[in-house]
Symmetry: D2
Subunit: 485 residues, 4 copies
Amino acid sequence: MPPHKPNTSSPAPGPKPWEHAKPTGSGSAQDELATRFVESLSYDRRLYTHDITGSIAHARMLRKVGLISVKDLAAIEKGLASIRKEIDKQGDAWPGWKIELEDVHMCIEAALIEKVGDAGRKLHTGRSRNDQVALDLKLWVADAVNELDKVFAQVFRGFVLLAQRDGAIVMPSYTHLQRAQPIVVGGEIMAWLAALERCQRRLHALRLLNSDNPLGSGAIAGSCLPLDRKATADQLDALVGPTFNAIDATASRDAALDMAYALAVTAMTLSRWAEQWIIYASTEFSFITLDGRYTTGSSMMPQKRNPDMLELTRGRTGTAYGSLVALLTMCKGITVGYNRDLQEDKRHLFAAYDSVRDSLEMCARIASTTKFNEKTITASLGRGFLDATALAEYLVVRGVPFRTAHQIVGSLVRLCEERNLHELSQLKLEDFNHACAQAKHPRACQSDVYDWLGAANVVKRYRSAGNAGVSGFEIQLKQWDKRLS
Amino acid sequence: MPPHKPNTSSPAPGPKPWEHAKPTGSGSAQDELATRFVESLSYDRRLYTHDITGSIAHARMLRKVGLISVKDLAAIEKGLASIRKEIDKQGDAWPGWKIELEDVHMCIEAALIEKVGDAGRKLHTGRSRNDQVALDLKLWVADAVNELDKVFAQVFRGFVLLAQRDGAIVMPSYTHLQRAQPIVVGGEIMAWLAALERCQRRLHALRLLNSDNPLGSGAIAGSCLPLDRKATADQLDALVGPTFNAIDATASRDAALDMAYALAVTAMTLSRWAEQWIIYASTEFSFITLDGRYTTGSSMMPQKRNPDMLELTRGRTGTAYGSLVALLTMCKGITVGYNRDLQEDKRHLFAAYDSVRDSLEMCARIASTTKFNEKTITASLGRGFLDATALAEYLVVRGVPFRTAHQIVGSLVRLCEERNLHELSQLKLEDFNHACAQAKHPRACQSDVYDWLGAANVVKRYRSAGNAGVSGFEIQLKQWDKRLS
Amino acid sequence: MPPHKPNTSSPAPGPKPWEHAKPTGSGSAQDELATRFVESLSYDRRLYTHDITGSIAHARMLRKVGLISVKDLAAIEKGLASIRKEIDKQGDAWPGWKIELEDVHMCIEAALIEKVGDAGRKLHTGRSRNDQVALDLKLWVADAVNELDKVFAQVFRGFVLLAQRDGAIVMPSYTHLQRAQPIVVGGEIMAWLAALERCQRRLHALRLLNSDNPLGSGAIAGSCLPLDRKATADQLDALVGPTFNAIDATASRDAALDMAYALAVTAMTLSRWAEQWIIYASTEFSFITLDGRYTTGSSMMPQKRNPDMLELTRGRTGTAYGSLVALLTMCKGITVGYNRDLQEDKRHLFAAYDSVRDSLEMCARIASTTKFNEKTITASLGRGFLDATALAEYLVVRGVPFRTAHQIVGSLVRLCEERNLHELSQLKLEDFNHACAQAKHPRACQSDVYDWLGAANVVKRYRSAGNAGVSGFEIQLKQWDKRLS
Amino acid sequence: MPPHKPNTSSPAPGPKPWEHAKPTGSGSAQDELATRFVESLSYDRRLYTHDITGSIAHARMLRKVGLISVKDLAAIEKGLASIRKEIDKQGDAWPGWKIELEDVHMCIEAALIEKVGDAGRKLHTGRSRNDQVALDLKLWVADAVNELDKVFAQVFRGFVLLAQRDGAIVMPSYTHLQRAQPIVVGGEIMAWLAALERCQRRLHALRLLNSDNPLGSGAIAGSCLPLDRKATADQLDALVGPTFNAIDATASRDAALDMAYALAVTAMTLSRWAEQWIIYASTEFSFITLDGRYTTGSSMMPQKRNPDMLELTRGRTGTAYGSLVALLTMCKGITVGYNRDLQEDKRHLFAAYDSVRDSLEMCARIASTTKFNEKTITASLGRGFLDATALAEYLVVRGVPFRTAHQIVGSLVRLCEERNLHELSQLKLEDFNHACAQAKHPRACQSDVYDWLGAANVVKRYRSAGNAGVSGFEIQLKQWDKRLS
């Protein structure tokens, strides 16, 4: 293992029975570096089940339009089913994986021909690897979105669980990482849910943009054979009809880009959550205690409990962003029609998917096992004048224009600071009214002002839809409860 | 103008009538660099009309729930309408732009207070710049998408016009920039239309994800005042209801990210078109002639006609990608709740929008004015064995399994090369059948094989839906015609 | 100001005296969008002084090799000097800026010809805009690096000042944002200095890579005229000799990329510092107090003191990363030789430079005016077992293998936690030795163990070079003192 | 193999002999996802030889300062040497790789302890994984740069070989992909050499920035033990002395960023070369013929010879850019001191290195085996008025100011076009002088003007240093010859 680690093993020498499936003119087998350089098998074998599904749909359509016989179809279906089973079982050890065949498509076709002969030679009728891989990619994306739906469900359940347990704890919210207004813990949890649910909807919206079937577009221009592309699409649940134009169908990688982008925003959202909770887990905040399963120690400092999973979740935003940039770069300025550059799409998309999927699952586990430390949080609720805005709103209700109210409260905060008081409620009614009088609103405050002060009072007073206090949290949680049940 | 060019002019000294609107504690005015460092006015003033629209909707809601009087509302509406007119007319020269007020929001509020006094001081009731700017951004995005719709319409018309004029010309298509199958020019034009129309749908799909109204979320937690957020949303055509959660509403920049991404893919699509046509415009290809308005000359080489607009369209992909990465970077790992970092969202989004919008408009003009050179294209149609795939498909129709047919045609191409023949149609029937026989399919070819050879024949033979030959082009063009009429 | 804001004003109609300098075949003037689309004048006019400097060097060389007369040279030099003075004075208002001339180069040449006639027409002898702009870019980079050196000096002085004032305060250091080992404040300040000083060295190292003179490379292939490229280079302080190859010289934008990258890493470094101090400035940490000039308030919450400048410094990392990606994207996959795409290099480079330069200057001001709150920091020094590593090292000195020592201290930390003790020093000697005995190192501790405990003791005990305790800080500060004096 | 493919296999349950090396508090082993989530062993095992080298240097230093005994050192050295041999031989199958130990460092230390007992437990004295991995990374970078030097040497030899064989062929150069001036093939080859050689120098310049030794910095603050960091550095050839500051040493990933950037620019440079040659290999250009080993065929179109390796080289720019962005993203905004995010640095750096390294090696092979088709190139040399600039320079020599000469040649080009002449040399002397007279330079041309026309004449006339014609090419080739011999 020198600095340069070759990606894959070397090819077998000599002619092989499956060589008939080898593309004409492919000189790469004559040069070991070339073989390694062009292969995508090391990562695209992951598409084998989608490739087989697509091939079966294609074969059935070929039969429907009379291009192959019933017997051919039967042989193809049987052969592909048996290949699928072999790979399910043997995985990377399946002997059909031959690096000199370059990719998953040729390996499976060659194995099929070896199994069923001429029927296998007919499978590629009216098809090119260009439209085949475009289809496989879309089928994989559909599957991956389904898979992510399951993980999103875990995430949602994890946060809802946490909200049900610790959601009512009163805590400060932060803008600019400075104490802003009081909220309940559940108010912030609902924010993560809102953002992540939007991530899920983005994934679906973008997948829908790419749900037309490219198969039947051939290498670039279509086919002179009487393919029935609608019939092919009808057999594939994930897709809804044929693509509009053959050149676009084989040249586009929008399906990969769109998913990579949706993953990148998901990673970004998780990075914000992770950062927030890393800060909450610091000694200074001590707002949360992470479960021991999701912290690790230090090789040098015996006392450490580090939030490594949160840090990795944050850091892996790099993987998602990097994959998106890789795909965007790959597509920039290449001519229309398939170019070999496009082969790399899967490498980047898979990397982003694996990383974000794992981070989501980790998020679900951390969410459901973390504890908010009510005692610590409550102990410091008096700091930071969290009720200043509520006081300004009290003044508004009492007829003071907001800008003036904002000024009055500003002066009261300064008064507290001068007197070394930490809370507005420590001021006397006359202090309040003195400040009001100076702003030409004498006697604006009454003794009920104290009902608007203190974090515990304020969180009960929020009335606007979507608020992060008691009423908002309860309504939002109810909606989530309903959704998840 | 030294290497470092300060962005903006210096602030005015001394207290001003609008100073009451100045945020408490803002020390930046005491340091010229700080003033320049925090201001966003130099770019966010572009939001003035959206800011005013949002403020009017807010004021009407405040009246509806009784937080301000009918008279207050009238004063606010009149004041804002007059400010809007002033800025419409005076633009950057409007005296209300005061850099020490930092942004468009404070400038307009301060001007309003100056005009209408206490009514103006009430406008910010139950509102923070945090939810205000989130709203302005969404309103701007909605407007910008509308504006792009108009430009997309120009682009579509430009390509359809070209397709109607030159679409029937037979030409080679390319994969790997190697000659692949014959198509008609219109087949490729339809590919650009398909890709760009998907760009437009992406813009809309992503905008819809962000069409809920953040106003009423306040600084982060909502408000203790009885705001009616639904009522606000109802007044704003672009939006459909209140956001779910106040913290998410003020912390998220997904609206900016989503649009930046949709613009990036649009730029990428244009870069592929531009590259293709730059190559088509080379002396060696000479497939197209660009209109003189869209080429420029050289300061040194007197004979040049350079496709500069296409090159700039390609190069400006950098602006769109860069803006997307800037936004993604900005959002990575920041805590929830508003952070000042987010202010920069507009800078990047506006840059991407201006650039892509212009490129689209340029694309429309180039598309409608470019000529495909039929003579030159036709002259070389015999090169590159464009009909090889059609010949393989002929053999399939004649009962030869595709893989075997592929091999037979491969050997025929090699035969041509050995004999120095450029076209398969120059072979004799016996040559065809000799190759077939060697592959154990004797007499597979009949004299009708010649009807499948030659680019002009092939483009008429394509039958698969979406093909880039005659039948596919005609159907696709008809659909576009219908859509545009 | 609709969503789309055109970048520049419209061109003047009709033939003008300077039209002779207009590139042949430039059709863009016939279409307003085209004029706006191709112009770079709106941002490259910033290069005027570098352009003139390069032109004078070129003219002197032309005289030296006899291509122009002494009189021509005198006219050119006088004309250019007067143009430089005009622009110095009039800036953007200089009447020579004519958008239909596209760029700074043509504007200045046209103005020169208008001033001095045929001598001006000779200036472009053996030169193209392609090599001219490559030179201007390198001259600008050299100037900008000089300018940054001055700002780096301010930054260094700012941190050294802070270190001299607050550097001796004992504080916790953090890994994973968890309390790690005790350090002195100055130990961390020295880390920022080390990282930023490496940024400065990177800028210089990369500039040196691009310090050869492209002028004399012409449009792409060089010139048939007897240009003396060494003579040109000799007149330009920033450059050291002619480029090796004309095609590479005019096609490369490595000078822009290299600087953009160096700026991106600088922005990244500043983002880490900003994040750290934003956290230090939170109520929960309260480690630092930012000067009032570098915080701002809230439009809604009267009590806020937000670290906006730090947040913007963090967020503007987006601008630097985005510019780098824009440049990398622009250069990806374009053919060799000048392509118009390259024109955009300056737009991105200038944006990155302006942003990072300002952030550095802001960093200098914040560094020199921030106060570390010794009282608050000291009050919590007992938390987090900061001395655990030192204790393990004590055991090592006493003959316990490190891994065993690590285990022993781990068990002692757990013992404290069980007993609700916050500090290791609260344990008795027998507690220490009991744990040692269990790990088969009985009596490893003596009473001097207490000299290794407590943050204040530990910071004095660090002995390794570069340590962040007392001895390391003092040595490092001394080196900086020496460097800056 | 579902859409989600777990990265690694599951951990073994139950306590193991090497558990003593496990970090205290690491709960990850209790959760399979957590184990997989935090491990870096699947990619960082590649560092094993650097890790062992670093450990030996550390152990010798520990001995030197008396922290371990001669016997301990001997045991450690022997143990590590035997582990190195085992891994050399067994690679990924080495039984010491235990995913629950997370990384290469712990696996090797655990294996050492198992082999040599307490001596092994002393190895980590005064060391943390934080400084250990920072060292390993730098040692790997140094090795990788050495490896790249070898590949660069192949690339240089490949291009020089090609230049020696085909360099003298006259061909057009291109700006804007439009024919510009005539050059010799070698003139362009020298451009690729210049650009790639700068890539190599960039790698070295950036590596030098990061050549100080972080070991001895401990977890973050340094050590209370009397480590001699200079002594450690002295044993490591690649490094030159201890880092300045312990916090910076363990927090910085500049070494990874700097190399990733240098690789990104190398990839970009290769993408431009690849694009150029893909275009040259098109039927329309037919400037080059690629060796059969470096083209591949089509699964559908039997006639294809696709430049897949060039396309992949171009497309893999995405990998390099993506890795750089991933690293930049990872580092953005994290606090100082080690954070677990940083672990991912190697994943991205290795991906970029493997990809660019292979592309460079492929470039070397393609360069040395490609043939320029002199006949085809020469056949079209008359097109595009390649000699227009030379004619303008002739006029300059004859006393016409360049701008005027530029205009005259422009009018002559238009005259040719009107008369359907393809070459300036087809005009008569009187045509030349008529155009000169109209520009007020009568009789500027003499019969020797024809010696300046025609590509073959022009390439011999270039005189400026670095030109891409005969003289420039010969000088540049000689320098390369000398360098490589």
